[in-house]
């Protein structure tokens, strides 16, 4: 068997015997992905129960209640009729309802007067988003009422004779706000938290291989293992190839198992298997290059651990492995694209939301490989020094 294969096989055996590697490579990312999928189960879709108290019973109130049952609102709210403001408030407090609307007595009648009755929304301090969506829904309805009143008022201000007000109001009541919203489908799949954090955690723990491998290299060097290898007719490049191969196999296996288990057990959606495989391979290659770079930069085991930790956590933080990168401010989203894992997460996000295959991940994969090439070239000269030291 060629020397690099022998060295890789030995490293892999050691890794499997060492339980800490299994924890990092499999157990920890799986437990974390499982926890996330359980935690976010209830909040993957935004939907809430909205109470409605119709204390008016008039025609305008009936229009509002009909508007709340519009088909485009059904994915967001379920309308629940309530007897009184008191009961609705109690239900919001106890979280049976997330928000409520109270249409006051005399609401319909007040529409023709100078002082229209306001609509009250009941909200909880713990659900600011439901409160704001409820206000928006009611405001969209009241905007048409206001538009009609405003149309008459503007005409009067422009000089319409007082005697025509009633006629103008009649005309205005038939108007429709001339800017209308229409929904255009995005045609993408909703990004579930588990579909984002499964690859994010798999990548985070993949980066840990940098710490492990660079550390084990210096331990072996301290134990005289590298010197013994060099005493045999093996070139330094073959030792490095063996080390790289073991990282490649362990990293690929870890990513593969995680993709499979999170898909089957937790309902994560990774997208096209071929494209996922290519991104994973590119990422493993960049981990190999980064490991070589750390080995090249460090002179002692302690230094290697320090540099590797800074690299691993720096990349994970910038790349978006802990925080949904889409939700970050612009600057942080741009910084994420300076990291290979940031590009990998973008590829996984695009695969999970917009689908597609290899063409979807082409740019991210090229970016990851470019990053790897830079790290690799820097590592090669430095690593020769590390092996021959």
């Amino acid at each position: 068997m060629p020397a690099p294969l022998l060295i890789a096989a030995k490293d892999l055996r050691q890794r499997l015997r060492d339980r800490s590697a299994l924890v990092i490579g499999l157990v920890a990312p799986l437990v974390i992905a499982a926890l996330m999928s359980v935690a976010f189960r209830g909040v993957e879709t935004f939907h809430f129960d909205l109470g409605v108290v119709d204390a008016d019973g008039g025609p305008v109130a009936a229009q509002l209640v009909r508007a709340l049952h519009a088909p485009e609102l059904s994915p967001v709210i379920t309308v629940r009729a309530q007897d009184s403001e008191f009961r609705a408030a109690a239900a919001v407090r106890s979280r049976t309802l997330q928000a409520a609307i109270v249409i006051p007595p005399g609401f319909s009648a007040s529409m023709t007067g100078a002082r229209p009755e306001p609509i009250t929304t009941l909200a909880s301090v713990n659900n600011a988003l439901a409160a704001s969506i409820t206000s928006s829904i009611v405001s969209t309805f009241t905007a048409q009422l206001d538009a009609d009143r405003l149309s008459v008022a503007t005409a009067v201000a422009a000089g319409a004779p007082g005697g025509r007000v009633a006629a103008l109001a009649g005309e205005a009541a038939g108007l429709r706000i001339p800017i209308q919203l229409v929904q255009r489908p995005v045609g993408s799949r909703e990004l579930k938290p588990v579909s984002y954090y499964s690859p994010a955690m798999a990548l985070f723990f993949l980066l840990f291989l940098i710490t492990f491998t660079s550390r084990s290299f210096f331990v072996e060097r301290a134990e005289g293992m590298i010197e013994r290898m060099r005493a045999a007719p093996i070139r330094p490049s073959e030792i490095l190839a063996g080390k790289a191969l073991s990282v490649l196999v362990f990293g690929t296996a870890s990513m593969g198992v995680l993709a499979l288990v999170t898909t089957v057990a937790f309902g994560a959606y990774w997208g096209s298997p071929a494209a996922v495989a290519v991104v994973c391979l590119a990422m493993v290659v960049s981990v190999v290059c980064l490991t070589a770079l750390v080995i090249g930069l460090a002179r002692t085991q302690r230094q290697a651990e320090g540099i590797a930790s800074a690299v691993v956590f720096g990349l994970a933080l910038l790349g978006g492995n802990f925080v949904l990168v889409s939700a970050e401010p612009d600057l942080l989203r741009r910084l994420a694209l300076l990291t290979p894992n940031g590009w990998a997460l973008r590829a996984f996000t695009d695969l999970a939301t917009r689908g597609g295959g290899l063409h979807t991940v082409a740019v991210p994969v090229l970016a990851i490989l470019a990053f790897s090439a830079v790290a690799g070239v820097a590592a090669v000269s430095l690593s020769r020094r590390a092996v021959s030291a």
Binding site: S20, T120, T154, A155, A158, I179, R184, R302
Partner: protein, 386 residues
């Protein structure tokens, strides 16, 4: 006592010399606080993209109206394609497409349709579309009034638009009044007020557990045997080690509190109650740290297993997301961890102006955890020393 302090001093000097430990103690928590704090801002705002395909003045005016709306966070995109990609990736919850020729269509009295990107089955996008709808309707009301008035031959469209704008500000409208029915806030404030306390709880504990590696290494090097050869009592070593872990944990917690307050403007609540909470949390971390030092066999194990254990407990305990979003069962499971009680304590102090009395139950539970962990770690460490 002097022997115990000497043990503490020796352990602290080792931590001080280790640059890697300083990275985890100081740099990492603060960077995470910045990133999470900058991101967790928008629980009540909806991120909306805008693409202007040449809508003219009416489009600009609608964009300004959306920017002024308190619940929308508007981002502009140069093309339809860029906006669609941003919606798909979740960078914005929806995007509004302002059509070409919108201004001239409105001026000539024609109705215009503005597209908002939302899939039927995607509730986040639907909720965002509902938020956009109210702003569009309010802007549309002005256009309706101006068109109506000018169609009556009462002034030009521009004049009537100016009149309508003034009237909209002054005239009584159908108001929407929001009444908050409870005051029992269950979540931390947003921004750094969220990230600083949760990351304090996460990192102080995580760091203590991971640095159990120091005790493992001390055991391996045979330092405890050498100490035993000197006239040092076993209890002095146990007290000294525990005090060293406590000092590091307390130092890290105080650093986060200070940086949070001075750099990020975090208000930590009642000073007395906050101090007690910080001290108790450092004791919990010290107990867990010494315990991990006696449980793991190699420094690699402590370094590899410690952080994931800390992260998982942090997730269960509400450091990574508020426990108010998880099921009742998961909330109960979460409260088996000390983290959940600590985060509850901070929520009471920071969101509900809690006091030593109101946060008493959380402090009592944390004191219980601290006592239990320190007792357990003492027993284990004594066994290791023997």
């Amino acid at each position: 006592m002097r022997a115990a302090l000497a043990v503490t001093g020796a352990s602290l000097r080792r931590v001080g010399r280790d640059r890697r430990a300083l990275f985890f103690l100081v740099v990492l928590p603060i960077v995470v606080i910045v990133i999470v704090g900058a991101t967790v801002r928008g629980f009540s705002t909806v991120r909306v993209g805008v693409v202007d395909l040449g809508a003219g003045r009416a489009g600009r005016s609608l964009t300004v109206a959306m920017q002024r709306a308190g619940n929308l966070d508007v981002r502009r995109y140069p093309s339809l394609d860029a906006a669609t990609t941003a919606v798909a990736r979740g960078e914005v919850s929806t995007a509004v497409v302002l059509p070409r020729g919108m201004s001239s269509a409105i001026r000539s009295g024609r109705a215009v349709t503005v597209a908002v990107m939302a899939d039927r089955a995607n509730s986040t996008q639907q909720a965002a579309a509902a938020a956009v709808a109210s702003v569009v309707a309010e802007e549309g009301a002005l256009v309706q009034a101006a068109s109506f008035s000018s169609s009556q031959g009462l002034g030009s469209y521009e004049q009537d638009l100016a009149r309508a704008t003034t009237l909209q500000r002054r005239a009584a409208q159908v108001g929407v009044v929001t009444r908050i029915v409870d005051s029992n806030a269950q979540t931390l404030p947003q921004g750094f007020g969220y990230s600083a306390p949760t990351m304090l709880v996460l990192f102080v504990f995580l760091n203590a557990v991971a640095s159990g590696a120091v005790i493992v290494e001390t055991r391996r090097m045979g330092l405890y045997e050498r100490m035993a050869a000197a006239p040092v009592r076993q209890s002095a070593i146990v007290v000294g080690e525990t005090f060293a872990y406590f000092t590091v944990a307390l130092g890290q917690a105080l650093l986060i509190v200070l940086v949070g307050a001075m750099v990020f403007g975090v208000s930590w609540g009642d000073p007395l109650a906050a101090s007690v909470l910080v001290v108790l949390w450092a004791l919990v971390a010290a107990g867990a740290g010494v315990l991990s030092g006696t449980l793991f066999r190699t420094p690699e194990q402590a370094g590899a297993i410690g952080p994931p254990v800390g992260i998982v407990l942090g997730m269960l305990g509400g450091c990574m997301w508020p426990l108010s979003i998880v099921s009742g069962f998961m909330r109960q499971v979460g409260h088996l961890t000390p983290q959940a009680w600590a985060v509850d304590g901070w929520t009471d102090l920071m969101s509900r102006n809690g006091t030593l009395v109101s946060v008493g139950p959380e402090l009592a539970v944390l004191a219980g955890f601290a006592a239990g962990l320190i007792l357990l770690s003492t027993v284990r460490l004594r066994r290791v020393l023997a």
